[in-house]
Structure formats: C-alpha cells, structure tokens
C-alpha cells in the first residue's frame, strides 16, 4: 500500500507516500481512515492524483495530507480535524461539509468550494468559482483571488473572505454568515446588504487573514456584507422575493 518515499526539494521526507497511478483511491482513503489512536505516522503524501475524485474524504484524525497535483470532485470532503493541502487545483466541492481542521488549495477551486461546511478553515490561494460557501454553516473560507456568482447562497454562519471581487448575486437569501470582500461585487443577491465594519469585525477578519496566510493586506480594505434579515419570516410585502 505504501509505495515509496518522496523527495521534496533538498529534504528527504520520510513519510508514507501513496501513488494514485498505481494505488487505488479506496486503499488510500481506507489507510487515512484507519489511523490508530496514539499513532506517530501522521503525515501522508499523495502523488499523481490526476484529477481523481474524493481524494482524502472523511479524514477524522488530526493527520497531515499533502496532495501533489490537481484533484477532481469532493477532495477532503467531510474533513474532521485533518490538515489537507492540494498542491494544484481542486475540482467541484472541495472541503464540502468540513467539520473541523484545515484545507489549503494552492491553485484554483471549482464550484461550491466549502459547501455546507460546519467548521474548520478552507484557504484557496487562487480563485474560487461559483457558489463558494453555499449554505455554509460555520466554516471559515479565505480566497486570495475572486469568488464566482451565487457565493454564500443561503449562508447560515461562518465567514467568507475574498481578497478579489465577487460575481453576481453574492449572499443571496443569506442568514447570518459574514462576508468580507476587498474587490468589486458584481451584484448582491436577495436580502444581502452592505454592512458597517465595526471593531469586532476588523478583529475577526484580521485573524482570518493571518490564518489564511495573507500578507500585506489590512482588514480595513474590505467591505462587509450580510443579511438584511427581511426574508427570515414570511411577510406579504416580500412575496415577490420568496
């Protein structure tokens, strides 16, 4: 199952390496799910992912997974405590329904990154496509580039940060998630409004920027968006918006 050692730059890292060109995805994920309590080998390398689906889904121990290359659908989905890094780009649904831990994508992320996430931190160094943070329920997402249309749709809690701009209908039908966008927002969705950046928000955002590996950017450069709370309860005057 463990197929070799990986040489990265000048260091020799003695960590188990799974080559997806010769090892099945099932074998990789099974190994990541069977970490005994008190184990010392908590670092794993994955090479040749070549756009594979479901790489490192369902991790439920504080392990470190380094994926060298681009992945397809649902990478690191349901992550609960793992630290997963994609040294490449990620397909649709990366870190979907994350519970805790962190997921880092060095390249771009496709649609619905961090969807329905309940906790943990997702960092995308490139751009994220449409529906980033859709129905987010507590996850923190930091995108160094732009986020696509319908991002944070029906977001319930957590923080979505974009250093670039946002596409159409940002925060449509949002509940209580906080959205921080530094660049231009193409349009706001139903019931999403610009809000005042108070001291507490500067504090939250500064911490998120630090955790997201952002340097040389101040929290004051962002605009906060959130819910106008007009769609919470049925009101006949809002009938057209439902």
């Amino acid at each position: 199952m463990i197929v070799g050692l990986l040489f990265i730059s000048s260091e020799i890292l003695l960590m188990p390496t799974f080559d997806l060109a010769s090892t099945s995805l099932r074998d990789l994920n099974r190994a990541l799910h069977q970490i005994p309590d008190g184990a010392n080998d908590l670092n794993f390398n994955v090479i040749n992912p070549r756009g594979s689906h479901s790489v490192a889904v369902g991790v439920d121990k504080p392990i470190v997974v380094e994926i060298h290359g681009s992945v397809g659908y649902y990478c690191a989905g349901m992550n609960n405590g793992g630290i997963v890094t994609v040294h490449g780009s990620a397909g649709p649904g990366v870190a979907e329904n994350m519970m805790s831990g962190s997921v880092f994508v060095e390249g771009d992320a496709s649609q619905y990154a961090g969807a329905t996430g309940r906790g943990g931190l997702l960092v995308v160094k490139g751009n994220a496509a449409s529906r980033c943070g859709i129905s987010m329920k507590g996850i923190d997402i930091v995108v160094h580039g732009d986020i696509g249309h319908m991002s944070a749709f029906m977001g319930q809690s957590g923080n979505l940060v974009a250093l670039g701009g946002a596409g159409d209908a940002l925060g449509d039908s949002i509940y209580e998630a906080r959205l921080f966008v530094r660049g231009k927002v193409k349009s706001l969705g139903s019931d999403c409004v610009e809000k005042e950046m108070r001291r507490e928000h500067i504090k939250i955002l500064s911490k998120l920027l630090e955790r997201g590996g952002v340097k040389g950017v101040k929290a004051e450069e962002f605009t906060r968006y959130g819910s106008a709370r007009k769609l919470y309860n049925f009101h006949i005057d809002n009938a057209e918006a439902y």
């Binding site: 070549r50 756009g51 594979s52 681009s70 397809g72 659908y73 780009s89 397909g91 649709p92 390249g107 771009d108 496709s110 649609q111 496509a129 449409s130 249309h149 319908m150």
Partner: protein
C-alpha cells in the same frame, strides 16, 4: 451528467496525433455517461469536394451497393466504409446526395456534412465506439467528443451527440433543457424537421434556424442564452475551430487548458491530464453566459 471533450491544435506537428489524444481524453470520462458515444473530427479538406458521413442499420448491404447506385444516378462519388458509418466524398452538392439517399436508401441517415467534418456516433462506451471507427488513427486540426448519460430521450444512435447544426458544424451538450418541447413546436412551424424527441437536437435546430436567418454562430449562441431554458454546457464545432457556452447558472462543469500547442476542453480536469505539457498549461473555467471561440485563422 455526460462528458464532453474538445481539442483544438495550434501546432500542425500534432495533427497526426489528434485522434489518439482525443480518444484518451474521452475514454477517461467514460463514467460520466455510459449510454452512447460520439466524435466529430475536422480533417484536411479535398479540393472541390465535400464529405457526407452517413450511417445505416443495414450498413453492409446498403454501403456495398451505394457507389454503383450513385453512379447510375449520375453522381460521381467515392465511399470509405467504417463499421456502421461511411464517408461519401463527392464533387456533387450535399442536397443532391440527400435527395438521392432519401429516395433510394431510406435507412441511411446523414450524420454530418462539410468540407472537413466527419461525425461518428453509436450506442456504447467510448473505448468500444472509438475502436469501432478507428478514431485513434485519425488526423486533423480539431475534434469534439461526447459520452452520454441519457436523460431527455431514448438511448439510440440518433439520440447520441454530436448533432449537426449545418455544414461543418456540430453541437454537443451536457445538461438538460426544460423548454425543448415548446421550442420544437415553434421550430416545426418555421419549417424545421426533427428525427428524435431529444432536447439537444432542438438546440442544434435552433442554432441552424437562427443562422439561416442570417446570424453568425456567435450571435446564434448568444440568442440561445435567452431562448433555451435549462442547464447546458455546449461545445460547438465549426470548420475552423470551436466555441463554448454555458448557461447563466453554470452548474454543468467545464475546464479549459491552453498551451502554445493546443486549446483543450474537458468536463473535468481528469480528461486533460494526459495532454502534452499539461503541467505548465493555463487552466481555467469558462465564465457563465459567455460565448467563447477559438479559430484556426486567429491561432495561426
């Protein structure tokens, strides 16, 4: 689901490898749609001649007598048989051949017509269909492939993609349209004819009808964004290139890659990983409700 691949070569040196590269891309996406497979390949034209790709459920008997029958009808043509399909090369007009076939060979269906395009499609997995038609050995400038997971109509040869939208033009689709019955009725009133109940055939006929009114392909595709309701990522093949358009919601996936040698399209990144120098390619997702085009003339 469905899987789409497209490959547009900038470097002539790669032309002989087109069929091989596209075949691998398409086979990788087999699990996105096991029902039927189709490929459109744009190869070098023969001066003064057009190609008609035809298909028959009675391929053996129909194709063995076809050249002689055409000759007796006063039509000079050559025929290359490939499994259930054949490519007719002729200096005659496409309309003449179509009329001749309709009268004398009613089982023969025309899959595509043009100076460059050849369209092959059948029920089955990509690996099998690619093998049946010898796609790997085909040379050309650009090609499109589709593997279908049927949702809106029967799994048949005629329900397979690509759908021809005019000379040297074809359309493949990932998604499903919700207003195709209404639009089909409108197009029938305008004089279009249909062979299936398939939603994509309606999109193809819509583009054909719009271009017959004088629109160019880019404007016809822009019109499709308003006229078609539903989900779609379309890839359209033309004589000198290909176009991509996604609906405004853009939930049907699309990834593009560009290097100095090629521009490639895949429903997923997986389809692109075997292409040369993919590690250094520019990889991105096409924007929603935006019409993209790549053209050999501009690339050259």
């Amino acid at each position: 689901m469905c899987g789409i691949v497209g490959l547009f070569l900038k470097e002539k040196r790669l032309y002989p490898k087109l069929g091989d590269l596209l075949s691998d891309m398409l086979i990788t996406l087999s699990d996105r749609g096991p029902d039927s497979t189709g490929i459109a390949v744009y190869s070098a034209p023969s001066k003064g001649k057009i190609k008609l790709t035809v298909q028959s459920p009675k391929a053996k008997s129909d194709f063995s007598s076809l050249v002689a029958a055409l000759k007796n009808g006063g039509i000079k043509a050559s025929l290359e048989t490939k499994n259930s399909h054949a490519v007719i090369k002729t200096g005659a007009k496409a309309k003449t051949i179509r009329e001749f076939l309709a009268v004398n060979y009613p089982d023969i269906r025309v899959m595509g017509v043009g100076e460059r395009v050849e369209i092959y499609k059948e029920v089955g997995l990509p690996k099998e269909v690619v093998g049946r038609f010898g796609i790997r050995g085909m040379s050309g400038s650009h090609a499109i492939g589709h593997t279908r997971m049927a949702t809106e109509s029967a799994v048949t040869t005629l329900g397979a993609h690509p759908f021809s939208t005019g000379d040297d033009q074809c359309l493949v689709h990932n998604g499903s349209l919700s207003n195709h019955n209404n639009l089909r009725r409108r197009l029938v009133r305008e004089g279009m004819s249909f062979e299936t109940y398939n939603d994509t055939e309606v999109a193809a006929a819509y583009l054909t009808a719009e271009m017959a009114k004088g629109k160019n392909l880019g404007d016809a595709l822009k019109g499709a964004l308003d006229a078609l309701d539903g989900f779609f990522t379309f890839v359209v093949g033309t004589k000198s290139g290909f176009g991509v358009v996604r609906d405004p919601i853009a939930c049907k996936p699309a990834v593009m890659a560009e290097t100095g040698q090629y521009i490639a399209f895949g429903s997923e990144y997986r389809a692109l990983v075997a292409l040369p120098d993919i590690e250094t390619a520019r990889v991105w997702e096409p924007e929603p409700a935006t019409v993209y085009f790549w053209d050999q003339k501009k690339a050259a």
